[in-house]
């Protein structure tokens, strides 16, 4: 190895080190603090359970305006009849999008704001956030709606899944210097229909369904991705062999 090559290598190494340092900084910045939701879009049974939860507990107020019933049926392996009897309670047609029956002008007066459309909730907030949010409601007598949430303090939503989880109360840590106290942890005060483990599975299913709803194309991406990569790897290999063949005489000369 000549001295020149040695220097160049040193330079490339330095550049790589910087890139790695930058990447690790970015990684440190990513770690935002919510436990992993553990969703899996390949788990169709989980998506179906999540859809059932959504249409039983959420669609009363929240729409999925970019999501058609027919698409849900197609992607989740459900027949039109199954979707129309088990998931569609608003009388919408099969090809129509999921729109809540909630009158939005009244909703704003009831809750202080419109219940947001959830089509892109997971894309905007992340699956971990949504899952943590669903697990973090507690009874708060000081709140006008009786509920509060540690992930989104003063959330406008009363906890719709309380009959499943039961009710949590907050254990408060005393505030410093006359400041109001902060929530230290949540405790299950009264059990619901589901055990804590079952409830965690339920919110994971619901988050999984919302993740699917925020990007139905993810199912197609995963289906085709591997084949595209395999084809391109083959193409690149072929191109490399072609290059080697063509360049033989350059190296000989």
């Amino acid at each position: 190895m000549t001295k020149r090559q040695g220097l160049l290598r040193y330079f490339v190494l330095a550049a790589l080190t910087c890139a790695l340092g930058f990447a690790s900084m970015a990684q440190a910045a990513e770690e935002g603090g919510f436990p992993s939701a553990g969703t899996n879009l390949r788990d169709q049974a989980s998506l179906q359970r999540g859809a059932k939860l959504f249409f039983n507990y959420c669609v009363g107020c929240h729409s999925l305006k970019y999501m058609r019933y027919s698409r849900i049926g197609e992607d989740l392996g459900l027949t039109e009849a199954e979707v129309m009897t088990n998931l569609n309670f608003t009388g919408a047609k099969y090809g129509e999008p999921v729109v809540s029956a909630m009158p939005m002008d009244l909703a704003a007066t009831w809750f202080g704001k419109d219940p947001p459309d959830l089509s892109l909730e997971v894309e905007a907030k992340g699956a971990d956030w949504v899952n943590a949010y669903l697990n973090s409601f507690y009874l708060d007598p000081a709140s006008p709606i009786g509920w509060n949430n540690t992930v989104l303090p003063n959330a406008a939503m009363p906890f719709p899944l309380w009959e499943l989880q039961g009710t949590q109360t907050a254990v408060m840590a005393p505030g410093k210097d006359g400041q109001p106290g902060t929530v230290e942890k949540l405790e299950l005060a009264q059990p619901g229909k589901l055990t804590p483990a079952q409830f965690q599975q339920a919110t994971r299913d619901l988050t999984n369904f919302l993740e699917y709803a925020s990007e139905p194309a993810a199912l197609q991406r995963h289906r085709y991705g591997v084949w595209v990569l395999l084809f391109l790897a083959f193409f690149t290999l072929l191109a490399y062999a072609l290059k080697r063949e063509y360049w033989k005489d350059v190296h000989e000369a």
Binding site: F11, F22, A26, Y66, G225, T236, L237, V250
Partner: protein
Amino acid sequence: MSNVWSNLGDWVTERTPGMLPMYRKHMTEYYAPKNFNLWYYFGSLALVVLIAQIVTGIFLTMNYNPSAAGAFDSVQYIMRDVEWGWLIRYMHSTGASLFFIVVFLHMFRGVIYGSFKRPRELVWLLGMLIFLVLMAEAFMGYVLPWGNMSFWGAKVIISLFGTIPVIGTHLVEWIMGDFLPGDATLNRFFALHVIALPIVLLLLVVLHIAALHEVGSNNPDGVDVKHGVKGNRWSPLAPADGIPFHPYYTVKDLVGVGFLLLIAAFIIFFAPTLGGWFLEPDNSIAANNLVTPAQIKPVWYFSPFYAIVRMVPSFMDTAVWGVIAMFGSIFVLFAMPWLDRTPVKSIRYRGRGYKIALTVFVLAFLGLCAVGTDTTAEVIPAWFGSDVDVTFWENLFGRLMTLLYFGFFAFLWAYTYFGWETTKPVPDRVTTHD
């Protein structure tokens, strides 16, 4: 069959006598140095990405609705109801970021091997113009999906012009066509993004390549191949160290294209948002002038320049200095051929001071990236505890990086103008390793 093709070829050649000589001049008889290395892939890759952006862009245009009321919905329509719409959109959004990656690397190649130096100054200037237009193109494209980050990004970036004394406020309204980014803004940005700037971009690319082929390509040794020893297997008049661009570099670049497509496909199919770096989560919320995103920050490829705006403090009652510094950070690159006065082109034969300065410059650029993407704002409390004054340390770091960024150019000029650099002898012929 081959007879049919050659007959067709003759038929065309008879009617357009200029075509074959042009093809020869730019392809089969364009003699490129035979020692191109990894860095030399990025020019052709930039061309490939440009074409991919134009083709995918055409298909997006068929389904996109350029109005404040319909833009955001139409993107979701593309993602869900248009056949393969998701693929086309992800190709376009991933292509935008990859475009900047390959262009940054392409420019860096030009710097380390002195490709901007005499006689290639015009090639460099045209390339810098391409970079400038590309930034405008990317900014306007980013506004079109009309997410909340599109809206606030547009508002912040256009407001930069508001810092210009006297005419600033009027200029901002003139650019937006409104008091806030709205229908008028979106429509004009759409027109500029899909027609005006791509035409300018294509014209500049043609000129960039034409100017290059006039003077010939540089190479990792910085040796002047065109005016060196003559005579190779193809012609006694051609450069001895040159090989025909076609087929040698077309097949070689094909390998590069394969690698680029592999990386692109991996992102498109398995991580289209790349953890929020290529597509930001806040842009999944529709534009809303009443709700400001928690942090307004540009996409990663603008972050070093945006960091400079943020880091330069206001004084004399105006924030215009930051804006001047930001544009300065790009325009100073135009002056590279006149700042770096050492005749030795390649980093291989340059002085130690140059190598150290360039390393510092790369670090400063990455440091500014970290500031502009708000990475430092999250890393400082994570590494040094939440008691530290984040703004103070971020400003200190960011301002140091800004000084180092500009300092590189000042040092480079002094170092080469006063002859402080000790260069090594440049060989007569190119060196190859394999």
